[in-house]
């Protein structure tokens, strides 16, 4: 059965290759920093389960220090604009096939693993989507290698070109999840919830609904994740005031409250995988700004939608 452990070995080897290729890339003035960064990540993938908690903490600290000093961007050999256009003309729309194979296999594998006994034998059903996604990548890779016959090192060099464009932001989502664990252990959420319950007047229904929805959005902006905000705000306002106090229907209060939190996700650089990673992938010039282009494109949808959620909860959650 394929589990995450197998994928970690694969990822460790790929990041190890990125590290080696970075180290010998003389076009990058900071090539040894890049090599150390991707190398540390490779160590984390390959040996993370053996080095202990403190060892992993030191790996994370090493990544942070390297990122703070600044990484460079390698320039692996790739094709020119003209060569790409010529290749696109020659290959036609068949070029889309390998790109679409990846989501197709991700989807088919997920459905197979969760719904058929055979699928569950092949892979761990709990991680089916991730495993199928990587399988899709490998199938797409095989198709391209056989069909287009690029140099053997090309997948690693092209992968390095893109991962260097993403840079240190590539570990930001994983680091944010770790910060969430530290916050949880220290009881940060409970304290924020108490502040809300103590200082915000919640004596009318509309004020309580607004406090819950805006609190979900604001706490999500701070934490980068509505899942972290939900238990906190629901314990502080949702359950005691809206559900037990005003008699709101729990399923409506919670469903819409979570979506109010998602409005916050659209507005924060803390939601790195949604808002920072794409800015890097798309090479936006303002990708390092707190309010980068992606977030600025989303705010005008997020704010009216937050107001809409308050109104929807106010009108739908309370049986007349």
């Amino acid at each position: 059965m394929i589990t995450l452990t197998h994928l970690y070995v694969l990822a460790g080897l790929v990041f190890g290759a990125f590290a080696v290729l970075s180290a010998i890339d003389r076009t990058n003035a900071r090539r040894f920093r890049n090599a150390a960064f991707w190398g540390l990540l490779a160590v984390s993938f390959l040996f993370g389960s053996m080095v202990g908690d403190l060892g992993n903490g030191i790996i994370a600290l090493g990544l942070v220090v390297l990122a703070a000093f600044g990484l460079g961007q390698g320039k692996p050999n790739t094709t020119s604009q003209e060569e790409r256009r010529a290749s696109a003309e020659r290959r036609g729309n068949l070029l889309f096939l390998p790109a679409l194979v990846i989501p197709a296999i991700a989807l088919a594998g997920t459905l197979l693993a969760q719904n058929t006994p055979v699928g569950a034998v092949i892979m761990d059903p709990k991680q089916a989507t991730l495993i199928s996604l990587i399988l899709g990548v490998l199938v797409a890779l095989a198709i391209i290698m056989v069909w287009l016959k690029p140099p053997l090192v090309a997948p690693l060099q092209e992968g390095r070109r893109l991962i260097d464009a993403v840079g240190w932001a590539s570990v930001l989502p994983q680091m944010l999840a770790s910060l969430g664990a530290v916050f949880l252990a220290a009881g940060v959420g409970d304290q924020v919830g108490k502040l809300f319950a103590d200082y915000i007047p919640l004596d009318t229904r509309i004020a309580a609904v607004a406090a819950y929805c805006i609190g979900m959005a604001m706490f999500t902006i701070l934490m980068g994740n509505a899942f972290a905000a939900f238990p906190v705000m629901t314990a502080a306002v949702g359950l005691p005031v809206l559900i037990h106090g005003f008699g709101g229907k729990p399923e409506v209060v919670c469903a819409i409250g979570m979506l109010a939190g998602f409005c916050g996700t659209l507005m924060t650089p803390m939601a790195a995988n949604f808002n920072v990673v794409p800015a890097n992938l798309l090479e936006l010039p303002d990708r390092k700004a707190a309010l980068n282009g992606v977030i600025r494109a989303q705010i005008p949808t997020a704010l009216p939608l937050l107001v809409a959620n308050i109104l929807l909860m106010y009108f739908l959650a309370f049986p007349a």
């Binding site: 990122a67 790109a99 391209i144 991962i163 530290v182 729990p250 794409p278 939608l305």
Partner: protein, 240 residues
Amino acid sequence: MLVLLGIAVVVFGFVVRANPLLVLMAAAITTGLAAAWTPAADLAVMWQAGVDTLARFGKAFNDNRFISLVWMVLIAIGLLERSGLQERARMLIAQVPAATSGAVLWVYFVFRQVMSALGLTSLGGHAQMVRPLVAPMAEGAAEAKHGPLPDRERYLIRSHAAAADNIGLFFGEDIFIAIGSILLMVGYLETNGISVTPLSLSVWAIPTALVALAIHSLRLWLLNRQLARSLAGLKAEGGE
């Protein structure tokens, strides 16, 4: 109350634009130290608290490695880019005379929201779909009409390509009953003595999903008008 210092560090870090990884680590250590602090705590106690926090951070970092697995996609996407995938996406969209940037983004946005509502959240994503296909198509649609794009418009279109993916995903996925956030809510209510079914939660995601569809469709229509105006103005200037 002291543990809230960690949040203050996060806010301060973003205001002074320090490296976000550095900000996160500083916030984690601050929180761990604040949680351990008592008037009686001496240096040894605080040092131990710092080490414990680093270990807790490390454990979570290790447990969450699966998050970074998604980068394996880049080796296939990079290889396809090398073979002209983005150029092909531009060519394809240029053959559709009615295609505009806003229309391309709108079609993708609706596709993303509907598929997410059916639980097919893996049919999308920034590395898999937005960079290689959606952004080049949206840019290509504008280029086919207006010629080479100025940077401002190019990056505006790219930003909206990422936004379409996020908004479609967020306000579609909760309609599907077996998604993480729905299961989280069921579990949370269960532990508080309230039992609800996933289905009863997911139907109440539908009103917000419809409002999101309306608002963001309007936004993309406005984007199209804005692009048409600014790019046409540019062309007129260039022609003089």
